[in-house]
Symmetry: C2
Subunit: 709 residues, 2 copies
C-alpha cells in the first residue's frame, strides 16, 4: 500500500462521525464536536451517542448504522471496551478512516495488546485506515478538521501556515504546535499517531511530503515500529525537497528504557537511529526549543532565502558578545571566515574604531547613528563571503529610543537586500519582535540557540543528497555450521563474499603444518584451532614470526604441550598455519542486529582505542563503498589511515570495500547471523588491500537453538 | 595590598563627585548624576563642570580643587585627553577611589597604552584606587550608588537582593543585571572593571566575598591580567561559602583571538582557564542563559534548600516529556535512581495506570484531581532517594482551569515540605510564574535548561573542597645548558628532582659501551646521542633488546654506520646505553607555559591516543600528588592504568608522583624552561614505580638567546 494512503480521509473528509460524542465539551468525546463547530469545519458532523437526541446542538445518532450517509472519517471516543465493536461497525459501513482517541491498548500492557491486534486485523481486512489507538488525533488547520481532544487548541486554532507536525506522542506534538502558535508561526496539519496499530509516523511524513500546503515537516519520534516504512517516507520528503526536522527522544540509557516502556515498542540504539536520520538527510534536533526555533526561523526565512552554506558574519556593538557568538557559532559547526580587505576598509571608513575582523565589533556608535549601522551591514552583506549575517543587540530593542533607530536601519536594509539572510540575536517586547519578524528577520535572544538555528537553516538550504543503498538478496542457503565455530571457516565464508584474507591452511599434524608452511612460504603464524578456546593467546595457542621449518616444528610441539596443559578438556581441531601479516593499521569491523533496524555495521580503530575514545561509526547495513568510506572518514582516528605523523597512507578504498562487503554479508545472512566480529581487519598501505586477520560469526538465537537441537 | 581594598569607597561612599558632569542626561557625564538623583543616593553629589553653575539642579564646581570637601568617590566622564589630569587632581586631593568611564586607553591600541600606564602609576603612587578606564562602573542597589552610565538602569533600578555581579565587559555585566531584573531577581552590587588599570575582577570577587549583602557572586570573564590575584580571590569566595558562578567566554579559537584583540590582553588557553576555575571550586557556565537561570534559581532556592547531591526524581504527565527529561538529566551529569519499592507502591495506589519508575509517568489523571498530584509528589519527596524533584507540565499553567488545580496542589506541597527541593519545568503567563516563584518554586520552561540548572544548584549545595597547592621555591641556579640539548642530561636533571629513570650510561666508544652494558646488565638498549638528531629511530639511531656483548658490538657498529650515512653532518656525542625497559603503560607528561597562568602540566596516554582522542588533563603547576592522581583519573584512558581488560593494574601512585614532581620542576625553573616533554613516562605494574624513558627540556626564549649569545 502506498505510504500515507487513507490520510486524505483524515485531513480532507467531506463528513465526520464522532462516536461517543458528548454534550460535555471538557470530555474526550465532547471536545472534537466542540472544536469542529468552533473552528468552522465546512463538512457534515454526525455525533453518535446511544442515548442523546442532540449533542452540542447537532442531531445525534444511536449507532454508525443509523447514520444518514457513510462518513469519510470516524472519530472514536467510546470507552476502551467498546472500541473494537465501534471500529468494526465503521469498517462494515465503509468508512474511509477511523481515528481512535481512546487509550488502554498496548499502552496498558498485555491486557490491551490483544484488542489492538484485532484493530490491526480490521484495518488489514477492510482497507479502512486506523489512526491510534491512544492517540491525540489529527488537525487540518485550513479545513478546520479537528479529530482531536488536544487542550492546546482549546483557546484558539493555530494560524494556517506551511509547517506540518507529525508525532507519536500527542503531548510532544501538541506542545510543539502550541509553542509555534505562541511564536506566531502558521501550521498546515498536525498528526499524532499514538500506538500506531495501522497508520504510523511514516504515513504522516509521506502524506505531508505530497501535501502542497506543507513546506517543512516536523517530526517527534519516540520509537519506530516499521523501519522500512520510516526510511521510505524520509526519502519521499527528501525527494520532495521538504526539510524534515526530527526530534528523536531517548538518547540516554534511562531515556531509551523509559521510551520503550512507555511506547510498548522495542528499545533500539539511539546511535543507529541517528545514523538512519543522517543517511535520510533529516535534520535532527535535540530539544523542543531547537525544534521550535528552527521551525519558526524556517517559516520566516522561507525556502528562497535559506543559506546555501555554513559561513557566518557576526556583528555586535560589544566585543564580549562578539566573542560569545564566535564561540557558539564554532560549537554549532559554522565557519567564521575573515571578511575581505575591501569590506574591512569599508567598515573602518564608516567607524574608525570598529574592529573589522569577523566577529565585527561595531562599537556603540551604531546606537546613535542608524546610517552607520546600515553602511556596516551593507558592507558585510555585499562582501558575499558569508551566507548568513548575525546581528547581535543586547539592549537595542528594549529601549524605545534605540529601538526606533535599529528598526529604521533594518527596514532600509531589507529594502536594499531583500534576498540576503540577516538574522537578529536579540530580545525585546513581543510587539517589536513581531514587527521584526514581519520584516523577514528571525529574532532569537539566546546566543547558542541562534547559532544552532542558523546551522539548521544551512542544512535546510544545502540538503544532503540521497545516499544509494545497495540491493542485497537474501542468501538461498544458510552458512555451514562450521562458519560459526571455526576461525578458518568463518574467514572462508567472508572470503567467498569478497573480503580479503591471508593464505592459511588447517593442519592436523606437525608434518601437515610443515607442508602447509612450505606451501604458504615463511615466515608464518601458528594458531590453535578449537571450538572450545576463545582467547587463544592466553593458553599459549598463538606463535608468530616463525621463520623456518625447525622453528615451526619447535613452535608446534610447544603449543600442543602448553594448550593441553592449560585447557585439557578442549577439543582440538589441529592448527591454523597462516601467512605472517605485514604491517598495517588495524580496524575492528563488526555487525550487530538492532531490534528496530536489523543488521547494522560498525567500524572503529582496533585495539582499545575505539572503546575508550567512543570512536565508532555505525550505519544500517548494507552500505555501499562510498558510504563505508564516509564512515571511515568520520572516525577521529581517520588520520591514522590517512598518513598522519609520517605514516604511510593506508588503503582506505580497500578498507571501505571490506566494510561494505561485510555489511552486505550481514544482510544476506540476516536470518541466521546475529553478529559478525572481524578483529582485526588489517589495512595495508595504499594499493595493497585490506585483510581480515581473525573473524567470528555469531549465529542468531533461532539458529543457535536449531544447531543445539 | 589586600584584595578588594578601596572598593568600600566605590560601593559605600559618603559623597560622590562626577567630573565632566553634564546637564544632558543622555550623555555619559549626565547619566550618573541623573541616576544618583533618581535612585535616592543619600550622600552628597558634587557635579564638576568647567562652565555650568548648576547641573541637573545641583550646584556645580569648576574643578576638583574647588569642591567644598574631599569626596570618597570620583566618577570621571571627561573626554579621553582630560582623564589623566582629572585623575591626578583627585589623587592630589585625597579622593578614595576614581571610576573612569571614559574609553580610549589600551582599548584604543598603542596610542592609549601610555596614558593608561600613567593611570596605573597614579594609583600605585597615591594609594587612590582606580576602576577602569573604559568601564561601565559600579552600582550598589541598596545605597543607590550609581557610578555608571548603563542604559540598563535607565528605566528602573533592580530590586535589592543577594546576587553580586562582577564583569570585565560592561555590556555582559549589565545585560546580566537586566535579565535578572526582568526575571524578578534582586541584586546587591554590580561592578564592571573595563581595562583594569588598577582594580580588577579579582578585587570585585574578594570584596563581594566579604560583603554581607552578597550571597552568590556572578562573574563574566574575558581574560585575566593577574593570575595570582584571580586565584586568591576565588579562594576567598570559596572560604566564605559563597558560590561563584563564572561565565568565561572565548572557548573557540576565533573566540579566544577575538577576546584577546578586544581586551588588549594575552590570549590564554581556555582549557587552562577551565582547570583554574575547577580547582578553585567555581561553577563555570557556558552561556548567558545558563548564568541567568542558575542565579535566579539560587535566589529562589536560598542557601538552606540547595541540593546536597545530584540525584533527581522526575515526574511528568506525559511519557515523552519524561523521556526527554531523563535524557537531559543524564547529559547534565545528574543521576536518576529508581524509587524505592514502597514509593512505587504508593504511587500505584494513587494512580494504578501510572508508571512508578523514575521518570514517573503520572498520567493525565493528575490534571483533574489535585489530591493525586499531592499524593504522588509526597511519595517522591518522602522517598528520600533524590535530593531534587523535577515536575514537568507542558500545559498545566497555560490554562486557567488546570493552573488553579496545580497551584492548589503545589501550595499544599510547600506547606507540607517547606525544606524539600521541588522545581517546575513549565511555562506559563508571567503572573502565574511569579506566583510560583514566590511560593519558592524555580520555574524554567526548557528541559535542557532545567537539568543544567539543577546540576548547577547541586554543585552549589556540595561545594568542592579547596585543593592544596604545594609551595615551590624558585631554583637558586639555572639548569646546566646540557639539560636542554641532551637526553641523558635532561633525564639526570629530572632524576635529581625525584622522577624515576632507568640506569643508563653515556659511552663514546664501542669498548665503553660494552663496559657500560656489563655494569647495567643485559638486556640493554642503545641510542645515538646527538644534539642534531631529533628523531633517532629514523636514522637508525635506536637498537633495542640487545642480549649479550656480541649483540652489542654488532649493534654499535651498525648504528654508527647507518647514522653517519643518514646524517653525515650531525655532531655525535656517543651513545646512550640504557637498561631495557620492562612492560608498562606509556604516558606523555609535559609542561608548557601559558601566557596568563605560567607553567601548566599536561598528562595523557602515550602514542597517538592523547592527540586523536583529545584526552589530556591539564592543570596549572605545581600540583600535589593527590591532584595529579585526579588528573590521571579524569582521563578517558584511565581504565588502562586501572587494570582494564585483564591487564595488570599500573602503579598509579608512582605515575601521579612523577606528574607532580615534573610540575614542581617546571615551577622551580620557570624562568629558564619553556616546555618539558617526558615521552614516554613508563608506568610499571603497581608497586614497581614509573620511569621517564625519554625527556626533552625546551629553554625559554630568553635563555635561548642567552645561550646563543
Amino acid at each position: 500500500m502506498p505510504l500515507g494512503q487513507g490520510l486524505d480521509a483524515v485531513f480532507r473528509p467531506r463528513s465526520i462521525a464522532v462516536i461517543g460524542a458528548s454534550q460535555d465539551a471538557t470530555k474526550i468525546g465532547g471536545r472534537p464536536v466542540q472544536f469542529l463547530l468552533k473552528y468552522g469545519y465546512a463538512g457534515r458532523v454526525f455525533p453518535v451517542n446511544r442515548s442523546a437526541e442532540t449533542v452540542q446542538g447537532l442531531t445525534a445518532y444511536a449507532s454508525v448504522d443509523a447514520l444518514p450517509e457513510v462518513p469519510d472519517l470516524a472519530v472514536v471516543a467510546v470507552p476502551t471496551g467498546g472500541v473494537v465493536a465501534a471500529v468494526r461497525d465503521c469498517a462494515a459501513r465503509g468508512v474511509g478512516a477511523a481515528v481512535i482517541l481512546t487509550a488502554g491498548f498496548v499502552d496498558a500492557g498485555e491486557s490491551g495488546a490483544a484488542a489492538q491486534a484485532e484493530l490491526t486485523a480490521i484495518a488489514r481486512d477492510s482497507g479502512m485506515r486506523i489512526l491510534g489507538p491512544n492517540c491525540l488525533g489529527a488537525v487540518s488547520v485550513a479545513t478546520g478538521v479537528t479529530a482531536t481532544f488536544s487542550v492546546n487548541i482549546e483557546t484558539a486554532m493555530p494560524e494556517p501556515g506551511a509547517i506540518g507536525i507529525v508525532s507519536q506522542s500527542g503531548n510532544l506534538g501538541s506542545y510543539t504546535m502550541r509553542r509555534l502558535s505562541d511564536a506566531g508561526v502558521g501550521i498546515s496539519t498536525f498528526l499524532a499517531t499514538g500506538n500506531e496499530c495501522d497508520l504510523d509516523v511514516a504515513d504522516g511524513i509521506a502524506w505531508m511530503a505530497a501535501d502542497p500546503a506543507t513546506r517543512v515537516i516536523l517530526c517527534c519520534l519516540e520509537t519506530c515500529r516499521d523501519a522500512g516504512k520510516l526510511i521510505a517516507a524520509m526519502d519521499l520528503a527528501r525527494d520532495a525537497g521538504k526539510p524534515l526536522v526530527v526530534l528523536k527522544i531517548g538518547t540516554s540509557e534511562t531515556g531509551v528504557m523509559a521510551a520503550a516502556s512507555h511506547t510498548g515498542a522495542l528499545a533500539g540504539s539511539d546511535a543507529v537511529f541517528d545514523a538512519v536520520l543522517r543517511r535520510a538527510g533529516a535534520i535532527r534536533v535535540h530539544s523542543m526549543e531547537a525544534l521550535v526555533d528552527l521551525a519558526q526561523a524556517a517559516a520566516i526565512v522561507g525556502p528562497d532565502r535559506l543559506p546555501r552554506g555554513n559561513r557566518v558574519a557576526i556583528l555586535a556593538a560589544s566585543g564580549g558578545f562578539g566573542v560569545m557568538l564566535a564561540d557558539a557559532a564554532t560549537a554549532a559547526g559554522l565557519a567564521i571566515p575573515r571578511l575581505s580587505e575591501a569590506t574591512q576598509a569599508r567598515i573602518l571608513t564608516a567607524v574608525p574604531f570598529a574592529s573589522p575582523l569577523n566577529p565585527v565589533d561595531t562599537t556603540a556608535q551604531v546606537s546613535s547613528r542608524p546610517e552607520l549601522l546600515v553602511e556596516m551591514l551593507s558592507a558585510v552583506l555585499e562582501d558575499g563571503g558569508c551566507e548568513t549575517t548575525i546581528l547581535f543587540s543586547s539592549a537595542g530593542f528594549h529601549l524605545e529610543r534605540l529601538s526606533a533607530i535599529y528598526i529604521e536601519a533594518l527596514t532600509e536594509i531589507r529594502r536594499r537586500w531583500p534576498d540576503k539572510l540577516l538574522v537578529l540575536c536579540c530580545g525585546g517586547p513581543p510587539e517589536t519582535l513581531r514587527k521584526l519578524n514581519a520584516l523577514g528577520y528571525v529574532t532569537i535572544e539566546g546566543i547558542d540557540a541562534m547559532c544552532r538555528t542558523v546551522a539548521g537553516l544551512a542544512r535546510m538550504g544545502r540538503p544532503a543528497p540521497g545516499c544509494p543503498v545497495p540491493q542485497v538478496e537474501k542468501a538461498a542457503r544458510p552458512l555451514p555450521p562450521s562458519a560459526f565455530a571455526n576461525e578458518n571457516a568463518s574467514k572462508q565464508a567472508l572470503a567467498e563474499a569478497g573480503i580479503g584474507v591471508l593464505a592459511e591452511r588447517v593442519a592436523r599434524s606437525r608434518a601437515a603444518a610443515l607442508a602447509a608452511a612450505e606451501e604458504i612460504g615463511f615466515p608464518v603464524v601458528l594458531k590453535i584451532l578449537s571450538p572450545d578456546i576463545g582467547h587463544k593467546s592466553e593458553v599459549g595457542g598463538v606463535a608468530v614470526g616463525i621463520e623456518d621449518p625447525s622453528g615451526l616444528a619447535a613452535a608446534y610441539d610447544m603449543m600442543m604441550e602448553r594448550v593441553r596443559a592449560a585447557a585439557p578438556s578442549a577439543r582440538l581441531d589441529g592448527v591454523l598455519v597462516a601467512q605472517m601479516a605485514p604491517r598495517g593499521v588495524e580496524l575492528i569491523v563488526g555487525t550487530k542486529t538492532d531490534p528496530i533496524f536489523g543488521p547494522v555495521v560498525l567500524v572503529g580503530l582496533g585495539g582499545i582505542f575505539a572503546e575508550i575514545a567512543e570512536d565508532v561509526a555505525v550505519q544500517v547495513a548494507p552500505v555501499g563503498d562510498g558510504e563505508a568510506e564516509s564512515m571511515l572518514r568520520a572516525l577521529k582516528a581517520f588520520p591514522l589511515l590517512d598518513g598522519a605523523r609520517g605514516r604511510p597512507k593506508a588503503d582506505v578504498a580497500a578498507a571501505a570495500a571490506a566494510v561494505a562487503a561485510i555489511s552486505r554479508f550481514a544482510v544476506r545472512h540476516a536470518d541466521t547471523v546475529a553478529e559478525i566480529d572481524v578483529n582485526p581487519l588489517l589495512v595495508l598501505p595504499a594499493g595493497e588491500g585490506a585483510v581480515a586477520l581473525d573473524a567470528l560469526i555469531v549465529p542468531s538465537a533461532r539458529l543457535k537453538s536449531e544447531i543445539a537441537a
